[in-house]
């Protein structure tokens, strides 16, 4: 094994320029893939938050009796698509209004609970059921208005979908380019060692003996590239998070433990190794035929 590594490192050293180009290309790829994974994770968290907060508010007329609203609530609770309902009384509505306009006393003058309609805030088990619940509520006579910010959720859903499709295409493309780079680098390494390889074959070297240093070479490129990408992320992310965080105010992000970060780095290294191994396997299969 030691001899295989020794031969691999000799080959890496011999082709310094190409090694650098391959590692830069692969690091960029793995960095881009990591950034995509982070973006996808953030959008998923945002989407989950939005979905959790997505609800329909049904406003009753201000003169509706509390009993009538509560019986409507009870009827809705028996609906299998409904996850939960919150009753907001006239007083609750006033309190909420007052809280929102604490700093604007003129807006609070002469305001009483009577002018606020009681309402029900309805959340669905599945966000996709919200539109049908919305339509049903609109037909009920005691309900004066139904508010549902479906556009916001739908727009964000389509964004997340686009990010996923675009990101996966990007990963596919960059992964392919990376593999191609490793393939080309190793092809050149193999060609440069052609006479040595011919001699080894003539004296009875097994396929594995001839091929293994080049496969190790590809794996080393992938591993080093992944570690460089992880290092860049470790430096850049903590610096950029404070600048990006205000955009996501109000969104609850699960905290990242060292174990999660460790798994992410290990995943990057694994990805690098796989890309390196695939690129090198393609090259040895193409150029080291027996």
């Amino acid at each position: 094994m030691g001899k295989i590594f020794k031969r691999a490192f000799i080959s890496i050293r011999r082709h310094g320029g190409l090694t650098l180009a391959s590692v830069v290309m692969m690091s960029t790829t793995i960095l881009a893939i990591s950034l995509f994974v982070i973006t996808a994770w953030v959008s998923n968290v945002v989407l989950q938050n939005l979905e959790a907060k997505a609800e329909i508010t049904a406003f009753f007329s201000p003169d509706s009796k509390e009993d009538a609203v509560l019986s409507a609530k009870k009827a809705l609770e028996s609906n299998s698509r409904v996850l939960g309902i919150k009753y907001v009384s006239k007083d609750d509505a006033l309190k909420s209004y007052q809280d929102q306009h604490q700093t604007e006393p003129t807006l609070l003058e002469n305001i009483t609970a009577n002018i606020f309609p009681p309402s029900l805030e309805i959340r669905a088990k599945d966000i996709n059921d919200l539109p049908s619940i919305y339509e049903e509520l609109k037909t009920q006579p005691q309900i004066e208005d139904v508010v549902f910010y479906k556009d916001v959720v739908e727009t964000f859903q389509s964004w997340v979908k686009a990010i996923r499709i675009g990101g996966l295409s990007l990963i596919g493309f960059l992964g392919f380019v990376s593999m191609l780079m490793i393939f080309l680098t190793l092809s050149i390494s193999i060609h440069a060692s052609a006479s040595e390889i011919d001699i080894l074959k003539l004296i009875g070297a097994t396929k594995g003996y001839v091929r293994s240093p080049f496969i190790v070479q590809g794996i080393v490129y992938g591993t080093v590239s992944a570690l460089i990408a992880a290092l860049i992320l470790t430096i850049v992310l903590p610096l950029s998070i404070p600048k990006i965080a205000p955009i996501f105010q109000g969104i609850d992000f699960p905290s990242l433990s060292y174990v999660t970060i460790g798994i992410a780095v290990a995943g990057e290294v694994f990805l690098g190794m796989v890309l390196g191994a695939l690129g090198s396997l393609l090259a040895v299969r193409r150029y080291l035929r027996y």
Partner: protein, 228 residues
Amino acid sequence: MIRFDNVTKQYWDGSCALKDVSLQIEPGDFTFLVGPSGAGKTTVLKMLIKEEVPTEGDVYLNEYSIPNLKSKFIPKLRREVGIVFQDFKLLPTRNVFENVAIALEVNNTRDDEIKNRVAEILSKVGLTDKSSHFPAELSGGERQRVAIARALVHSPIVLAADEPTGMIDPVSAWEIMQLLSKINDEGTTVIVATHNIDIVDSFKKRVIELKDGQIVRDEKKGKYHRHG
């Protein structure tokens, strides 16, 4: 035993390296392949290690058909048939010891075994004191002895030498031939493709003459020329 059964080798451009060649070489034989350049001597040797395959006919090493050998068995074949080239084919960045040792390394032989076996074989070819020298520091004759040592390190049943004296001075050439003769005396089948008239004539061994890819002469104790 080596057997060529009606072997023809034709290339895609229509040129023919061998035409209907049949021959048999018994274990322990010493055989010279002679003939002008392009006669097909090297092709015969290459077929012994499946470096070339016939377009027609078959080549046997003992009972095994070499052209039909699966690629995974080629390394083993090449350890059974040691080959020596005119241009030595040594690795310039490795010293004498390493150039011989690599033949065992490729076979995953243990380090201590490699050390003992290489020392033994270098002593046999008279290069013990040159084991740490690099090929560039050796004479042509010494380089060829390294190549022979490398071919011998697996104790092959056949040693095939393609113009082994072609790039060395006459004195060294004679030494190389003495060494090959000694190896043959120890039981290894030796096949030498050569242009060296003096050597062929003085050895009085079997001579197979090829011309334009065909065997034109096969004599048990022959000379380079039919009428020489």
